[in-house]
């Protein structure tokens, strides 16, 4: 690892001030940043430890939702009583990711900002526009089995690897951040970016901004939900395709449907127009198939990952079926 200087911030203001210096980065759980620093993909010259800041609690909001402090550990979030009972979709998504050891260290803020798992991004001997803007994309014509099929650009076809974020997209969370120019709230759908011609930017967070909390709205879809993660082995692997499905049902009629896909794009993928196709309709396989087709419209494979298009469609149908049946057994 390259040498760096290190300070510990005791509050948000100090953290924001200290990270403003050139080449400085926050460190929380360290599970993504240190991994990437060891192989020279990330090279901060200064680290600001934010784990001493009191952003490590989960609190109820006046709006009937929950506020997850940015420094709450992924494991503590997933096993928190209010998350388990009101937002089981989020619990399941978090527990589908990484390992017990990693979830005990990883924080909720860090999870949002984990970087892609594209093999070429990790290999400093190959061109990669995300790692080194303008150098080219090795994946488009290379080995791209794990990479994106939706929202790609000619500059980058990377995916966002988080499971937690797929659930947060379906639940329509809000990300609260503080920077030099004050606080702002970013709707989850606007937090991550598509690659476009700036693939080096994963999110719309500014370099001097710190995530302080993630807010969940009151509606948790605790009756009919599923997090379906399809991967090469049953545990401890990143998703090829994942689906967070949440339904509000009245009898067998869909009042509201939320679907977010993971492993297919540079950000958790939502298509509100396709979700709306289910509104007021019967929760049936036939209707789910229509939604799945609409969700994957415009999807493009790059050779090794063509199978993901069909896989994603089937995953959507299966996730919606699982989410529907749940109530019958509850």
């Amino acid at each position: 690892m390259r040498p760096f200087t290190f300070t510990q911030a005791q509050n948000v203001d100090t953290a924001v001030r200290e990270v403003s210096s050139d080449g400085a980065k926050f460190i929380a759980g360290g599970t993504n940043l240190l991994d990437l620093m060891k192989i020279d993909v990330m090279q901060p010259s200064h680290l600001v430890d934010i784990t001493q800041i009191a952003l490590d609690t989960i609190e109820e909001t006046e709006a009937g939702g929950l506020r997850l402090g940015a420094l709450v550990k992924n494991a503590d979030t997933a096993y928190h009583e209010l998350v388990e009972t009101r937002y089981p979709l989020l619990s399941h998504a978090i527990l589908a990711g990484a390992t017990a050891q990693l979830r005990n260290m990883a924080t909720d803020g860090g999870n949002l900002l984990q970087r892609t798992r594209c093999y070429y991004f990790y290999d400093t001997h190959t061109p990669c526009n995300k790692r080194e803007p303008g150098s080219g994309c090795s994946a488009i014509k290379g080995y791209n089995r794990d990479l994106a099929i939706l929202g790609t650009s000619e500059h980058c076809i990377a995916t966002h690897p988080s499971d937690m974020c797929v659930a947060l997209a379906a639940l329509e969370a809000t990300v609260h951040v503080t920077g030099k120019s004050g606080e702002r709230a970013i709707p989850f759908a606007d937090f991550h970016r598509l690659p476009g011609d700036t693939p080096h930017l994963d999110s719309n967070l500014q370099p001097d901004e710190i995530i302080t909390s993630i807010e969940l709205p009151a509606q948790g879809f605790a009756r009919n939900y599923t997090y379906l993660k399809l991967r090469d082995r049953a545990s401890y692997a990143f998703a090829l395709v994942s689906v967070a499905a949440a339904l509000e049902l009245e009898g067998n009629t869909v009042k509201e449907a939320r679907i977010a896909l993971g492993g297919v794009a540079h950000k958790p993928w939502r298509v509100p127009e396709a979700e709306a196709l289910l509104q007021g309709q019967t929760a049936s396989r036939e209707n789910f198939q229509k939604v799945a087709e609409a969700y994957l419209q415009g999807a493009q494979g790059f050779g090794h990952n063509n199978f993901k298009i069909e896989l994603a469609k089937r995953a959507i149908v299966r996730a919606l079926e699982k989410a529907t049946k749940m109530e019958a057994t509850a």
């Binding site: 390259r2 040498p3 760096f4 599970t31 060891k38 096993y79 017990a100 260290m105």
Partner: protein, 175 residues
């Protein structure tokens, strides 16, 4: 991996020489004052500075679990955390498990069930089983398999490791 100064294209100023600081780590019930560079992982602090080599380095990237230790009773990968960030925490390594010359029940169970071959993954597996019991989330066989999946065994001793984990849950042999 690189220790030389930054290339000329970078504007950021990097420290040329290892800038060390005093770090107090509590390991197996004893406080140790160490002079460490900020980039020293807990794993390197244990192995290279405290000479506690029971905790193993497999991948150094959070993928294998060989470096698993307990931090305030919970499992973490010591390779992916900085020593400077873990002051005032209680770190338990495989060396701290035996009490008064007697093996911890999970250590004994690894012998009784013949749950290792080369033994390289074993200290991490032992700490992980104890952490799993402490964390209190495993109930079924499937839970065990899922919650122990962060510990890879290249000798494939999994069948017997699972037996150890089942026994540890039944007897509630945590820390």
């Amino acid at each position: 991996m690189h220790t030389e100064n930054s290339p000329g294209t970078e504007t950021a100023v990097r420290p040329l020489l290892p800038e060390t600081r005093t770090v107090t780590l509590r390991v197996n019930g004893t406080s140790h004052q160490l002079q460490l560079a900020p980039w020293t992982s807990v794993l390197d602090a244990l192995r290279e500075h405290l000479h506690l080599t029971g905790t193993k380095k497999g991948c150094d990237h959070g993928q294998c679990g060989a470096c698993t230790v307990l931090l305030d009773g919970k499992r973490i990968n010591s390779c992916l955390t900085l020593a400077v960030m873990q002051e005032n925490k209680e770190i338990t390594t495989v060396e701290g498990l035996a009490q008064n010359g007697e093996l911890h029940p999970v250590q004994q169970a690894f012998i009784d069930h013949d749950a290792f071959q080369c033994g390289y993954c074993t200290p991490g597996q032992i700490c992980s089983v104890i952490g799993m019991v402490n964390e209190g989330k495993a109930k079924t066989l499937d839970d065990i398999k899922d919650l122990m999946s962060g510990n890879i065994c290249r000798c494939g001793a999994y069948v017997n490791i699972v037996k150890v984990a089942q026994e540890a849950l039944e007897k509630n042999t945590g820390l």
